[in-house]
Amino acid sequence: MKKFFLMIAATMLVGVAAAQNAKIPENITIKTLDGKTVETSVIKNDGKPIILSFWATWCKPCNRELNTIKEVYEEWQEETGVKLVAISIDDSKSAARVKPHVDGNEWEYEVYLDQNQDFKRAMNVVNVPHTFIINGEGEIVWQHTSFVEGGEEELIELVRKVANGEEI
């Protein structure tokens, strides 16, 4: 047991390579809205930026965020090529409501279910909403928790920079 921890600690302490951003994991199992099991490696956008947003049907600020972005999503896509991928952390209490919720709100996002919250844990999400910007190489370049109106303008400013290959 002690050896195990020492090993992990040693692995972390030894051999620090050049700093680089963490990538989103590719091997976590999630589900599409029609019940198909897929891996997180499906989250791709042909080298263009991705907004990855963790949300739940019962979370008011999450709904405000996704509804606010909906109004400007088409413009954002045309301008930067960005794609929004929404990960629902609804558990079995409300997972059956996710598809009706997404359609009822007319969201055009790519939506996946993370019922067992494996992806949420792998991304160190504590509270929802929690939003990430992923660059063309699949690296996490920015993250933010909570949402208030106006936050979408800060978000697109950053996405523009990422789309232009600038550091943020």
Partner: protein, 550 residues
């Protein structure tokens, strides 16, 4: 133990400085949360003095990933567990550790893991840090996909019980995606997934005496629980169902009766852009399944029977949150959403959202046979007993201009105190809510919320349900960019109630870090302030919270 803490602390400190550094080609990420509370006695709301003065819950997750390999450990410290958390959490140490290897066809996890079979009716190991529930399994979990469309899972382990592990749980699950297996259906619009699971627990014998002449019960040492499920979707139509059965499982939850358990859940939905409907039905009969038969608290649940009622977030609508009665209930829930298009009579310039929900949960129609050591009771499948919970809500959301959004809600809630183990009359509550968000300019946003609740319940010191009576509430929240917020709120029972719940909170968010400090009186429930939802216990005094992910 001490050594473990030192190692964990050094790993945490190192990880901070390393900030998702590449290490041997891998990455270290994590999150840290610190909550604190100074609470004092208030006989009106029922809070008591805290001997330690300061209570705190702390937690840090450190995750190392390198391609298909990952490992993690979690420090938890409850140096005076916060109010609402079980006192058995007191202490600190490494509460969770695992190593995992995952590819598309094979995944193996050793150590602590979370898992769910189907909808969780046979097995759901999960955690909710704000509720203080963590029934992680410590053992081995394997997932294997022999061919495309077939997922097999198997696990064995013991469940977390505060700082120990208890019980012995074994389980297998299979899920088949029919469209992936049958080539002719690969491109079919209709998608079908079927699955099944079986979970068994083992527990040593013990002495439990029956009602009759003090005979010792012949307890089953191995108890099995199995289920079948199906998920069909066709364009906008969706149908999901799961049926579970459990063998003889006398426990403190069912008063040591030998009746088999049974549960059925069905969800049907239809949706298209701007319109959706969902109906769910559920029947649960004697389905409490824990790894230790004498455990009566929140811990050691192996399975989970989801509550189908809507999870309301406004304070007065969620005043009586409903949780499934695993001993027995039958219920129905419906949801309807509609978007009135822009430039129509009801839609106006920006469109209007309509959301309706209704639910009704009743007890089962049962006939008593006997007490401890018997089958307990018989029940009819479609028969119903007492009303446990019912609600209906109508919500209209509308953008009045580019800057002002308004949401108006009417709700009606029926609640039987018997589901929380109290005697008393059924409460009938009417709730009216107005919620306005005003985006003053790019950087300043003001949100105002007003709620009213009219109830036929009156506060009775003998029952001591502090939610009784007629209430009003006001909340003002001011946000300066997405960085700063301040919020003021007060809930006051102006008739037949007790208490006065005022609160002031200030928060600061930068990236994935967030700090919040609050002062006031709080009752337990889901609270959403400054853009984040979380569950909080009752308190009177100062609270603070710090979270960060890296």
């Amino acid at each position: 133990m001490r050594k473990k803490i030192i190692i964990a602390a050094s790993v945490i400190l190192f990880s901070f400085s390393a900030k998702a550094q590449g290490i041997l080609g891998g990455h270290v990420t994590g999150n840290v949360q610190l909550d604190g509370q100074i609470s004092s006695r208030d006989s009106v709301i029922g809070s008591t003095d805290v001997p330690q003065k300061l209570l705190s819950n702390a937690r840090a997750d450190i995750l190392y990933t390198n391609g298909d390999f990952s490992a993690g450990l979690r420090y938890e410290g409850y140096l005076g567990p916060m109010l609402g958390f079980n006192s058995q959490y007191a202490g600190q140490g490494i509460a969770n550790y695992f190593v995992s290897y995952k590819t598309q066809t094979l995944a193996i996890t050793a150590g602590h893991f979370y898992e769910q079979f189907g909808n969780g009716m046979t097995l759901r190991a999960y955690e909710d840090r704000y509720l203080g529930i963590d029934n992680a399994i410590r053992g081995i979990n394997v997932m294997y996909r022999p061919v495309r469309g077939v997922t097999l899972k198997g696990l064995i382990g013991q469940q977390r019980y505060y700082w120990e592990t208890r019980g012995l749980v074994r389980g297998v699950d299979a899920e088949l995606s029919v469209n992936d297996i049958v080539n002719a259906l690969a491109e079919a619009k209709t998608r079908i997934t079927i699955g099944g699971s079986f979970v068994s627990k083992y527990e040593d014998d013990e002495t439990i005496l029956s009602d009759i002449d003090g005979y010792k019960l012949n307890l089953p040492l191995n108890v099995g629980c199995g289920s079948v499920r199906m998920d069909i979707s066709h364009g906008g139509f969706g149908l999901q169902t799961e049926y579970a059965r459990k063998g003889q499982d006398p426990s403190i939850m069912n008063n040591y009766i030998y009746k088999n358990g049974e549960a059925l859940w069905v969800s049907a939905s239809y949706s298209q852009k701007g319109m959706s409907a969902n109906i769910q039905a559920k029947r649960v009969d004697n389905m409490g399944f824990k790894s230790v038969r004498s455990e009566s608290g929140e811990m050691l649940y192996i399975n989970y029977t989801p509550a189908i009622t809507k999870q309301h977030t406004y304070a007065f609508l969620s005043m009586y949150p409903y949780a499934t009665q695993s001993t027995g209930e039958i219920g129905l829930q419906g949801d309807f959403m509609y978007k009135f298009k822009k430039e129509t009579f009801l839609g106006g310039k920006y469109g209007t959202d309509l959301h309706i929900n209704a639910s009704l949960i009743k007890g089962l129609d049962t006939t008593r046979i006997g007490g401890i050591g018997t089958d307990g009771y018989t029940s009819t499948f479609f028969g119903t007993g007492d009303t446990y919970y019912g609600d209906m809500s109508l919500e209209i959301a509308k953008k009045l201009s580019g800057k002002v959004k308004l949401t108006a809600t009417y709700g009606y809630v029926v609640f039987n105190p018997v589901v929380e183990g109290h005697e008393g009359d059924i409460h009938h509550n009417h709730v009216v809510i107005g919620d306005m968000t005003w985006k003053i300019n790019k950087k300043n946003v003001l949100r105002v919320e007003a709620e009213w609740m009219g109830s036929d319940s009156k506060y009775d010191p003998a029952v001591d349900d502090k939610r009784c009576g007629d209430w009003i509430m006001g909340l003002v929240e001011y946000n300066f960019t997405s960085a700063w917020f301040i919020s003021l709120s007060d809930q006051y029972p102006y008739k037949d109630g007790v208490g006065n719940y005022y609160n002031i909170s200030v928060g600061y968010t930068k990236g994935a870090s967030r700090m919040q400090i609050g002062y006031g009186k709080q009752r337990e429930g889901i609270i959403c302030i400054g853009g984040v939802c979380r569950n909080v216990p009752a308190s009177n005094g100062l609270t603070f919270s710090l979270t960060t992910s890296f």
